[in-house]
Symmetry: C2
Amino acid sequence: MPMKLIDGKAIAAQIKEEIAKEVQQIKAKGGKTPHLAAVLVGHDGGSETYVANKVKACEAVGFKSTLIRLEEEVTEEELLHRVDQLNNDPDIDGFIVQLPLPKHISEAKITEAIDYRKDVDGFHPVNVGRMSLGMPCFLSATPSGILELLKRYKIETQGKHCVILGRSNIVGKPAAMLMMQKSYPGDSTVTVCHSRTPDIKEITLQADIIIAALGVPEFLTGDMVKEGAVVIDVGTTRVPSNKTRSGFKLTGDIKFDEVAPKCAYITPVPGGVGPMTIVSLLKNTLLAGKKEIYPD
Amino acid sequence: MPMKLIDGKAIAAQIKEEIAKEVQQIKAKGGKTPHLAAVLVGHDGGSETYVANKVKACEAVGFKSTLIRLEEEVTEEELLHRVDQLNNDPDIDGFIVQLPLPKHISEAKITEAIDYRKDVDGFHPVNVGRMSLGMPCFLSATPSGILELLKRYKIETQGKHCVILGRSNIVGKPAAMLMMQKSYPGDSTVTVCHSRTPDIKEITLQADIIIAALGVPEFLTGDMVKEGAVVIDVGTTRVPSNKTRSGFKLTGDIKFDEVAPKCAYITPVPGGVGPMTIVSLLKNTLLAGKKEIYPD
């Protein structure tokens, strides 16, 4: 079987079109235009770009979007007050507070202050818990994007051994929970490896599906992957490069040249999981606008 | 290394004593006596016994306890109303609604209606989510009991391969989450196997620690376990027996006679994980009484 590249960019474009179509229909019927608000604190370059892309994506599918900019010096209390306003604004269907936040503000406190019915990032404990319990919820962007890719490429997951590298709250743990769930995609035997796993290679060699989310550039080499595996690369580390104008290169956790020839399917970096994360946010915002998950 | 039996009964007794001592101190200082309420719907024999044991355990450590009995025919609305009363009763620190509930009542709805700050069963999505995120929470009884046993026997878990059999919401999934957490006990490489895993033996043979929670009597046989493993048996299936007065015998997921000689540590059934579950409930109630997890 020849290696097949998973084209996250194309899938993302396709889903955006599907969402745009649905938004048009909603509007045509006189329904409420989904409205996402994004709160950006400070002027971190990465965060600026992420938020700008989110706002742009909202506009492209016909959502209403509101960008709220707060200075780096904003107090936790002030930010909590803004969160409260957004919680109580009936026109806002969902909102995000872009992380990371300045050190004087507790990210956990802010995340928990967001009304879980508007938590389209899926970071609130209620959404994390409901995901774990297999209940309807807002799924967080990266694991949701990974599952969508598996689904769109009709990749078999039932009874497969899925090995996840990394145990972060936003990728490794939720991906593990979803992949073991009795549903498709899912129903896999799941192993989670991390920095304390003594011999990761021993385990990845058994994997039918590998989800690499360690944030260690080119960690997974060719000798660690069995023939015919499906490999999903979540890593996006900025590695200095003299070949690009920006001076860096987005590098995944997979040594692509070595691993790709052995794979049934593989995601590139960039253009694999990355473009899917914004799509997941759009999907959640649409669900929030339709009040599909939390009806009241 | 000779096999060591993990004595859950003895550890449970020891922890109950520790709790009783702390309750005495709280009372001596004029503090509030922790108060657990249990709601029992209908007359299922198993549930009657479980709830009676919980109430008895509360009294033994000096807690106040309240048993609320409702008839099988109680409506969902009435039960939700009772839950609401308990949520708002300042004397009740924590309460449980014994499961299973009659079929005309949604267990998910009732579980979510319980104020998570009083959810000493740890079943509410907020507590499940916070557990997954590594935040302070009420841990559900069985996984919490398992971790306590590992801790009291000072069993090394960091970097060990922990294989969990079963993916239920009350054992398999939370045990997986806890065992992969960056803490002790935990920090293990975790694999979750279940009914869809094609060759469980291949995986259990790699395990340093096995947590069996399939509910399949004597599923794990001697040939499935490597020398020196730690084996925790969560199974408690009532198997008909002509050797006991009750006509049945509590049977674990482990074929004890075969597996025990290969183990470094093993839990018996009964007397292993079982006695720990009530202790976990008491620990949560004590935490609730002291408002340690949710201060307001």
